[in-house]
Symmetry: C2
Subunit: 203 residues, 2 copies
């Protein structure tokens, strides 16, 4: 066997470049050639790792989903429940350059999925994973009553806020206060005796 290479690592390298491209220039600037250029490869090289563009997009969508799940898993579990939930949600919002890139990619894929069954299946799986993690967390934090419904509401709220932050970055700060206000409403009483996390000053 001649010269060989870690194929999966190469795929991730290309997938990462694709996600960067989606976040910076939008999904319809993604072509085999632009992705290759962003990855520092030739178009022919990209073709060695993805036989079709659709396969490449599906891979990148899964990669983006894994990233969100991994980052959510990394949230400090020792935080007070309310802050922990806020931290979980912040991992999905475009609060800095890196998260903005991922949020832009996630939402672009989500809209694309409305007309592409393969991407839709990936999105649903990512949603299911996040929903389960959130539900489990809510139950362990004492919000077992309608945990799964609250989890879905939180997911929808986060997606909606992220979407708007992308095209209205000037409302960024305001939307974070909206998030806090909505969380206060959705999670009525912190069961822990911890001092209530300072709600944002409304006004």
């Amino acid at each position: 066997m001649p010269r060989t290479v870690d194929r999966e690592e190469q795929r991730r390298h290309i997938g990462t470049a694709l996600l960067r491209l989606v976040s910076e220039r939008g999904l319809d600037e993604v072509s085999v050639r632009t992705v290759a250029a962003a990855a520092g490869r030739s178009a022919g090289a990209v073709q060695k790792y993805f036989r079709t563009k659709e396969e490449m997009l599906a891979f990148a969508a899964e990669l983006a989903g894994e990233r969100v799940e991994r980052r959510m898993a990394g949230v400090d579990a020792s935080l007070p429940p309310r802050q922990a939930l806020r931290a979980l949600i912040l991992t999905t919002l475009p609060v800095d350059a890196e998260r903005r890139a991922e949020a832009a990619a996630q939402l672009a894929f989500a809209v694309h999925a409305a007309h592409h069954p393969r991407l839709a299946a990936i999105r649903r799986q990512v949603d299911a994973d996040i929903r389960q993690a959130l539900t489990a967390w809510l139950e362990s934090a004492g919000h077992g009553a309608h945990a799964s419904a609250v989890a879905d509401a939180v997911i929808a709220l986060s997606d909606g806020l992220a979407l708007r932050m992308l095209y209205a970055p000037q409302e960024h700060e305001h939307l974070l206060t909206v998030l806090d206000h909505a969380l206060d409403a959705l999670l009525p009483d912190p069961p822990a005796p911890a001092p209530a996390p300072a709600p944002p000053t409304m006004g």
Copy 2:
């Protein structure tokens, strides 16, 4: 002046065809030629009414926004506040074929707007209109406390639910119960003030 035609009506005809195309096949199936075919015109005819594709997209985005605002304005204002709010939100969710088409177009434009300032400005204006209408309605319904924050939360929640409904139609029913649960949480107590003032017409 020779043969003339209602230019604005022609533009709306083409814009309507564009929105249909976006909802049925996605924004990246939109080209001057496909829009022309969907409108029953030739590509050359479309060019007479929109000098560039970007101008055509901007027009369609405004058209879609106007439709939502108009439909929200048409919600029966005599309904009990809680049902009225639910009805307002349902005008933006893909609950039937027509609304699904509009929701798909709205979300496609929203994501597109993340990288196209002109579309972003249109989206922000539509958001501002809806937000103001919702806020006014909430205040008149006795939820004046944090009306504008609640309005933004409701908008984000609706967008997030609509997005997910598009690629997960099988979760449709479930997501409607999530909506009701979230509304219960966001609008805590039925407004006590007895003389329920007729909510203003929206828009």
